[in-house]
Amino acid sequence: MKSPPFEYHRAGSAAEAAGLLGELGFDARILAGGQSLIPLMNLRLAAPAHLVDITHAPDLAGCGANGGGLHIGASARQRTVELRADTLAIAPVLADAISNAGQVPVRHQGTVVGSIAHADPSAEMPAAFKAQGGTVTAQGTGGGREIASEDFFEGYFTTALEEGELVTGVTVDAWPAGTGHGFLEFSVTAESWPIALSAVLIHSSGGAIDRASVVLGGVAEVPLRRPEAEAILVGAEPTVEAFEAAAEAAAADIEPLSDSFGSGAYRKKLARVLTRRALTAAAERAGGEA
């Protein structure tokens, strides 16, 4: 379990990190908390020639409410974000997602943005981010740009980032009062990877649901939005029948892969059960806030 050789670079600012990435090229990777990248390197599944450490760049460390949304800087630690009052107020689905990821010591080290940029389709934070919606801020030597959460995830460990770009932060969009969320994952043991997860938000102003978001993790190459399920929910009363129908639609046409934790068919089953249960939890929370 020894990493291949690599060269370590420390960036003092976002601009310096972008400069280093541009200079070092495709063989360079950003190092933030290192909770995904370093194990992959030690298993020799990843072998970047250069690591650019951004955890000493003050302009990447921030986190907090920002213009109605929640801004999370690229080096903000998961545990910090998880426990902040503004996270719980603005993006409780993200707080739930973080609390399910790894163990507390891991979350003290790992970063939210790092997990999102790593784009593991079975990970918690990408799914929660996509479910609530927001934007990714990317910076390259040529300047910055914003990428919608909906467009960010392109495949297994693959994002819309271009060579030489790093994510400097993400902003999670706020949902209005009357929103409830549900985040449920299934893992065989408390410490093992989730083999399927469901992140949902529903909003109602009393009575029928008027806005819904359903995203599955662990069942496809990206965190997977389920528009058919959302269509069933919008306009429906928050009933057991509606949630069952939406859950069925969410899992209807997915074709998850099999691995040692479970078959594709089992993941499909889990997607349905977890979505049903997550929607039930979301409705209880929405009701409480309405």
Binding site: P5, R44, T189, Y266
Partner: protein
Amino acid sequence: MSGSTGSAGPTPAAARYVGQSVARLEDPRLLTGGGRYVANRTPPGTGHVAFARSTRARARITRLDVTAAAALDGVWAIWTAADLNGDVGSLRGSLVLPGGGGPPDHLLADGDVRFVGDPVAVIVAASPAAAADAVELIEIDYDDQAPVLDFETAAGRDDLVHPELGSNLSNSAEAWPPEVDEAMAGADTSVQAVITQNRQANAPMETRGLLAEWRAFDETLDVWISTQSPHETALAAARTLGLAVHQVRVHMGDVGGAFGQKVFLGREEFAVMVCARRLGRPVRWIEGRSENLTSSNHARRDRADVSLGATADGRFVAATIDHLEDNGAYSNGGSPGNGTMACVHLPGPYRIADVGWRTATVYTNTCGRGAYRGPWQIESVARELIVDMLARELDIDPLELRRRNVLRAGDLPHNTATGLTYDRISPSECLDQVAEMIDYDGYRASQRESRAAIGHAVAPNGGPPDAGTLPGIGLAVYVEPSAIGFGALATEGATVRVEPDGSVNVYAGTGSHGQSLETTMAQIVADALGVHPGDVRFHQGHGTPYGFGTGGSRSAVIAGGAARAASAGVRAKLLRIAAELMEASPDDLDLGGGAVSVRGTPARRMTVAQVAQAAYMRPDALPDDVSGGLEHTARFKAPPVTYSNAAHACTCEVDVATGAVRLLRYAVSEDCGVMINPMVVKGQIAGGVVQGIGGALLEEMAYDSDGNPLTTTLAEYLVPSAAEVPAIEYGHVVTPSDTPGGHKGTGEGGAIGSVPCVFNAVADALAPLSVRLTAGPLSPDRIRAAIVAASG
């Protein structure tokens, strides 16, 4: 050192510390990061070893090129079979000597590879990272052959794991008298099942590892190794390297678990020693986690075709087992497997007049089989599962069915149909105690209510049930053959020495790797010598009397017997000397609190330190027939087997929609005779139970259809954490053994009883859905699939 047997002193030692939960003497060190393992030792100039391993399950090597790797900076040596295999003799463990059949002795893969992980080349480099870098530069081309992966069909295959042997069948045995079939045919009811157990890994916290240092100036080899058996290490190293045993010094520090994996040396460990001798410098190998999971040893891959016949009122009349086990390619120590041991224990704690058994062991192109905590435990899995199946068939409660058949005090001594003789066991008492602990009757009553309450909710629309939580309770009862003392395993030796200052050193041939021997052996010696356990220091490894080491639940009985005998000899001498010095009769002396005193005259006393000082420094003051010094070496010979027994009970709930199992309570009633240290007994039970929970629910070393391991890290090979394990409750029944001290072994029982106990609890939960579970692990996916299948 004096004679080989110890006699009890004039006044018998009082059990002051034996029986107490003395705080572990090793804990301050281990709990503050002061433990010292092989990886803590890096002498200057150490070479670090990595192995290049086969990525194919069965293939000819058509090209092997180490040129690029050898040119890498920091690489000191790369050797393959052509270089090294001639340096060694037999690689067998001392219990399976040359001529006993088995696969060829390939230190490194020679011409072909026989499982994914088969070591092909060894690299010694300036750092572990450089060695790992070199592995990636070794070029190997293979001509793939069809691998033998399915152990159930391996024996009939023309493709051979070991072409030298002409067959994939390693060995077989049977004892199936015709009257067994007659008895089974005459039974009112019989049930059959094919039970397959999941391939598991020992997965110790500390992987294998050793540091070997060849000293050319006096031609000796020092080995620091993570081991259960320093003497087996020395014997095997000497035999394999062509040395005398006195040229080999084996040192052991702390060991982070083994569970059977570290009794016998593996090919890698021999290779490291060979490298050290060739290079004349310290060479160290610390096995990686993935290597440990894929290349050290696997266990438990068994199939049992089991049947149980009974009268209409549930009296067992006959049982049979047709057992098959997967030995992998190169078994640990060259072991021919555990089949006979498993089969003869099939009757377990029950009266069964007729028992037939048959066993076969086969080779496959997978990681070799090795001992794992209760290596024969398929007998308990098969028996306890089939008992529950019979209970359901007869509609008799599983506890009641066991009570009708379990051995009672009046049945002892009991000769099993398989030729074992049990005595001084208490399965009936343990069963009753555990039923009380878990409130069995109360649980059944509440279970009936909750089953009625969820009734219709679990099966809507005629489809598979999709909601609700089902409660279940499971039992398992077993008799554990502890302290197996046949042949070379029969004895252990110990030396007890009181030093001139009164402090005590104990030297034993054991290999404690978590069993707390540092404390328990000190308790035994402290009682004999009237000192505090903290005054006693325990030593293992080089310089200790020969012993087989620690494994097979043997140390309490056999090593404990040796420590007891050795310290009794010292006690007798200490009292003789004290009597002489104080002009009293040895019979009038009391020994305790670190001092000897004349009974009735407490002012006439000497400390143990004063007596010891005289023993060494004032030889002229000693009795004429007493030599100087204060030490004794003794060897204890144990009975062939010392049986312990236990009953387990647990409760669970199963989430019907996801198949997830949550264990709620776990209770164990154990009879390990007189406990040296009840806290240590609890620890042994807890560790074993947790491993069995893993074996029942989580752990499976999986291969794909090409023979590639799929579970290569602890992210995929799932072991239980605190979150998966309920608080374990302990009950004790104490039936002393007929060995000195009355102890019995209890190292493995937890891992034996827990697999069938958990299985039975889950099956009980799912009984209303007519789900039948016969293959582990009971993963959520597998349970859910079984629920769906049963509803179709």
